[in-house]
Amino acid sequence: MRSTEASTPEAGPGRAAPPGPLAAHLGAVWGNLLPFLVLGVAWEAIVRMQVFPPILMPSLLDIGGTAVRMAMDGSLFNHVGSSVLRLLVGFVVGAVAGVGLGMAMGQSQRVERFFLPLLSALMPIPGLAWIPLFILWFGLGDGATVGVIIFSVVLPVAFNTWTGVKSANPVWVRAAESMGCRGRQLFFKVVLPGSLSMIFTGLRIGLSQGWRALVAGEMLSSPDWGMGFAIFDSRQFLATDVMLVMVMCIGFTGFLIVTVLFGWLEKRTVVRWGMLQEVGA
């Protein structure tokens, strides 16, 4: 008889489930795939009914062909790569600044008093609203786009980090202090891990807002490459197949970054620590 003590945490409920892990996994994959299959069939039906002229609404086969062609000539990867690069630069800068600002606000009342009104006033403004201004200031191209991504990332990250520090259990700090922990150690060993789940929340929001800012920024600031640019540029040639390929790439890349990367990070930290229920679990 297996002990019910928590010394065997690997014997979780997932393992005891009757269908077995592989069948359960395949079932989950099928459950996620089904809506897309239905959507595809519906799309094809509308195409066949010729609701729109074929040039405006290409069939899935044409879209697939365009994707293959763009992959073969490399333009697909150039567009995706340039966008992801811009996003990463803007996101990393914005995230570091946002976590730093949020932490400073959580630790110091004076910093909090100064920045909180600013954050509250700026948060509701969509990052996109700044794009024309940023283009005038930083010129067409990467500067304006990366700038608006940074701007879109900093605010939610700072706000959630600040909330996380504020709502971290004060008894953790007391316990640490009673064991002689203070200063930098208190910050890195207690305050930071204690607010990590809220920091992740901020990073997720920041990333999805930065992602939107990226696409819009590319549409308006006309760089040479980029998924947003490709979509906007294609309208001149009625290249709806290219538009759709790019839209799908945006969706897929965003999914990979947000769900796969963050899911992976969270599973190894806050979910493992029981500080956050796994999203969708």
Binding site: S7, N169, W172, R174, G180, V190, G194, G274
Partner: protein, 255 residues
């Protein structure tokens, strides 16, 4: 030799333009290796006293002197809190190692010592478990190990088992007795459970509210381990119950 000497300790604060005396003129010596329990109803100042000893709050007047002549120093006391205070991001072992880390004990040595203290609370098998996977009683056992692992001069326990169910609570009381017999730590233990105090204490400090003060200090001369159903045990418990019967419902405990 007294491990801790408290002299003329008073804590006042102002609430709604009213002066509140949380603790008034407390004198108390805690002997080296002594188990002292503090009892009393809410508002009698027992938690305030513990928080002052822990260095979490400053007294208004009065002094606290440790055996070596110093005042209260964080890092030389071990605190077990009523609420769950383990770090969720650390395993049971990692939690117990924390205090040793603060003393720059090398990793191999601190792992060995932390493991030894986990075994002292019968949780050697749960070293790599995270707190959220442990039951409430197990968490408090890890918390006890964590507060002891760096050999503090004084252990402060603030109703450590108050949130647990009766059976778990009883098991942990006898575990506490067993550990104390082995280690002979100096313990300052706050509780509102009189049976717990009579079971554990060398001396019971009875406090009463308005203002919070020491009413009486009672030496418990019953042989250990104590039988909670023996006539002497029951008589002492009744004696203290009657002493503080009229103090109930005098307000919330102030921290």
């Amino acid at each position: 030799m007294a491990a801790v000497s408290i002299r003329g300790l008073t804590k006042e604060y102002v609430q709604d333009d009213r002066r509140v005396i949380a603790v008034s003129n407390v004198d108390l010596d805690i002997g080296d290796g002594e188990f002292v329990c503090v009892v009393g109803h809410s508002g009698c100042g027992k938690t305030t006293l513990l928080n002052i000893l822990a260095g979490f709050i400053e007294p208004t007047t009065g002094t606290i002197t440790f055996g070596d002549g110093g005042g209260p120093r964080q890092g030389d006391i071990g605190v077990v809190f009523q609420e769950y205070a383990l770090f969720p991001w650390r395993t049971a072992l990692g939690n117990v190692e924390f205090g040793l880390e603060m003393r720059n004990v090398p990793p191999a040595e601190r792992r060995r010592r932390a493991q030894a203290f986990l075994e002292l609370v019968h949780l050697g098998h749960a070293a790599s478990t995270f707190p959220h996977q442990l039951s409430g009683g197990m968490r408090q056992r890890v918390a006890v190990a964590r507060a002891m692992a760096y050999e503090p001069a004084l252990m402060l326990m603030d109703e450590p088992f108050g949130a647990l169910d009766a059976q778990t609570r009883e098991r942990l009381q006898s575990l506490t007795e067993e550990i104390w017999q082995k280690t002979r730590k100096t313990v300052f233990y706050v509780t509102h459970n009189l049976a717990e105090a009579v079971y554990l204490a060398d001396r019971i400090v009875v406090m009463r509210p308005n203002p919070g003060r020491i009413h009486e200090v009672i030496a418990v001369d019953l042989p250990r381990p104590r039988d909670a159903l023996s006539p002497a045990f029951v008589a002492l418990q009744r004696h203290i119950t009657e002493m503080i019967r009229d103090d109930r419902g005098t307000g919330d405990e102030k921290h």
